[in-house]
């Protein structure tokens, strides 16, 4: 397994070796030397994501809210782990950020844009700047790995050129191969996506997100469906790629260890409310156990 830095306090150091301000007790942190590729625009706002009093309920006005006024600011380059038990609202919150779900109240500012007021073309342009990795990978399983990665260019090129590797321009194919090489799957470019293991599928999904040239990456329980070894490998790879590019990472997880290891900050949700928001350096695993208790401490 490659040696990887899993500290991501703010923007990556130019040396590529993270400056860990503090390490949560009991969590192993490793650092790696290596080149840092930073592709972040210089004029990007310091607060890259601002969520304000977000409320979302499925159903009518009387139905119970899944999110009950969530507020959250995320700084450029930060890695934020969102924790919470099933039904706490983690995935719902992530889907509200690029408006895959429409909140009932509140606002989201992402990459300097007021997401709720964007019209469809502008919303699509914004979404193309945001990588989104899903728990179930969500690949087009009957297409090749290369075609799936090329789909990441949908926001930049026409639909027909990005729908299949055979129709893609050479430059796009080369870029997709480069993304696949970064997740160490270049040799499987021609394989159909339904013939991959879970870990390989998730790495293809990450390559597809990299193909977007994202400025922010959202990952909804990216390793939940993987066995422990594959989960570790995918999280390590994911965290390294984000750090190398200085990309803000927002991810949800059920693994406290992953949250502490790969997040700079932990935001805990319970019953649709933020109940904890602290830097990982000030947290221990046992501090967070109560989030999963059925007894409400909120």
């Amino acid at each position: 397994m490659p040696e990887i830095s899993i500290n991501r306090s703010n923007r990556p150091a130019e040396t590529g070796i993270s400056e860990a301000p503090g390490i949560a007790p009991g969590v192993e942190r490793r650092s790696i030397p290596g080149p840092v590729v930073t592709e972040v625009p210089a004029d990007r706002p310091a607060t890259i994501c601002a969520v304000d009093k977000l409320v979302l309920r499925f159903g009518g006005r009387g139905s119970p809210a899944i999110l009950k006024g969530v507020s959250l600011d995320i700084a450029d380059g930060e890695a934020v782990a969102i924790l919470g038990s099933n039904g706490a609202g983690k995935s719902t919150l992530l889907r509200c950020l690029p408006r895959l779900l429409e909140p009932n109240e509140g606002s989201v500012s992402l990459l300097g844009e007021q997401v709720m007021s964007l019209r469809p073309p502008a919303l699509r342009r914004l979404r193309s700047r945001i990588g989104f990795v899903f728990q179930r990978h969500n690949l087009s399983t009957r297409l090749s790995v290369l075609s799936n990665v090329i789909h990441g260019a949908h926001g930049r090129v026409g639909a027909l050129r990005a729908c299949h590797q055979a129709l893609a321009p050479q430059a796009l194919r080369e870029e997709a191969m480069d993304c696949l090489a970064q997740v160490r799957l270049a040799d499987l470019a021609g394989r159909r996506a339904d013939q991959l293991s879970g870990g390989q599928s998730q790495r293809v999904a990450i390559a597809r997100a990299l193909m977007q040239r994202p400025e922010i990456m959202i990952a909804d329980e990216p390793v939940a469906s993987l066995d422990p070894n594959a989960a570790e490998e995918v999280m390590d790879l994911f965290a390294r790629l984000m750090r190398d590019r200085g990309i803000t990472l927002i991810f949800t997880s059920h693994h406290l260890k992953h949250a502490l290891a790969y997040g700079d900050r932990i935001v805990a949700l319970k019953s649709g409310l933020v109940v904890e928001d602290k830097p990982t350096a000030r947290l221990r695993e046992q501090d967070l156990d109560w989030i999963y208790d059925s007894n409400d401490r909120t």
């Binding site: 919303l123 699509r124 700047r129 179930r136 990978h137 009957r142 949908h154 639909a159 990005a162 729908c163």
Partner: protein, 267 residues
């Protein structure tokens, strides 16, 4: 061992409760079936009485008359060509119509209802009626039959294509939406790749159906082998009719076999 029955662990009733309306509808449907049997005048007496007539017909059909094999095969080829062209055109037109009629992908609910209605209309009017309409519109011959098959194929394929698109896994579509893909991108990258096997299977069924239909369309002058069969029957040339029926049977069987083989390869 813990008891699993008791007031709180009662198994559900063997049969669910039936509402008065459902009961009335069931009784009404059963009564309608019985009345229909009576109305059509079907009886054992009639069925058994038809036996000698059937035996006489079969004896006059064999041996089949092979003297007109060559023109019959030409008509058979024309019939199959009508089926192929009508199916291809029908499938091509079904693709956009299915998008418009699909609940998930139609641009507007009003358009969805309108296109669903149009497709249902194409499907519910029998192909023979369409053939009559097109014979009046474009004249006698295979063009009328081809257009009738095309409309019939749209009615069949567009409905199943739309249903297949609605049943496609939402995951890849959500991923593409999250990446900023538009409607076309979503269709070509996430929906069509998933539903292509279903589309091919439906298309092959449509071709089988069209091959059978194209035989009958000749009866109203819409081209194909149907007219040969009608003339043979009208002139009591049952041995020639037998040869035509066997030719049709072989064609339909070949199309079904080829289509089944292709479906197995694709799915």
């Amino acid at each position: 061992m813990t008891a699993t029955t008791g007031p709180d662990h009662r198994a559900p009733d063997r049969l669910g409760k039936i509402s008065p309306l459902a009961f009335a509808l069931t009784v009404g449907a059963a009564a309608f079936v019985l009345v229909s049997f009576n109305h059509v005048g079907l009886s054992w007496e009639k069925i058994l009485g038809g036996g000698p007539g059937l035996a006489r017909l079969v004896s006059q059909m064999f041996p089949p008359d092979l003297s007109r094999l060559s023109p019959v095969l030409v008509s058979l080829l024309e019939t199959f060509q009508m089926a192929v062209v009508g199916t291809v055109l029908g499938i091509a037109l079904s693709l956009p119509l299915a998008v418009m009629a699909s609940a998930k992908h139609s641009p507007h609910p009003v358009l969805r209802v309108a296109f669903r209605g149009l497709i249902a209309f194409f499907r519910t009017v029998p192909d023979l009626i369409w053939a009559l309409v097109f014979v009046i519109a474009v004249g006698l011959g295979p063009a009328a039959g081809t257009l009738a098959i095309m409309i019939d194929t749209i009615g069949f394929c567009a409905r199943f294509f739309a249903e297949a698109m609605e049943e496609a896994d939402d995951g890849p579509q959500e991923a593409l939406t999250a990446m900023g893909a538009g409607r076309t991108g979503l269709l070509f990258s996430a929906v069509y790749p998933q539903v292509i096997p279903s589309f091919i299977a439906t298309g092959l069924f449509a071709l089988e159906k069209a091959t059978r239909s194209s035989v009958v369309l000749g009866l109203v002058g819409a081209g194909g082998i149907g007219i040969e069969l009608k003339v043979a029957m009208d002139f009591f040339s049952y041995d020639l009719a037998c040869m035509i029926i066997i030719s049709i049977f072989v064609l339909v069987l070949m199309v079904e076999q080829a289509s089944g083989w292709l479906r197995a390869r694709v799915l």
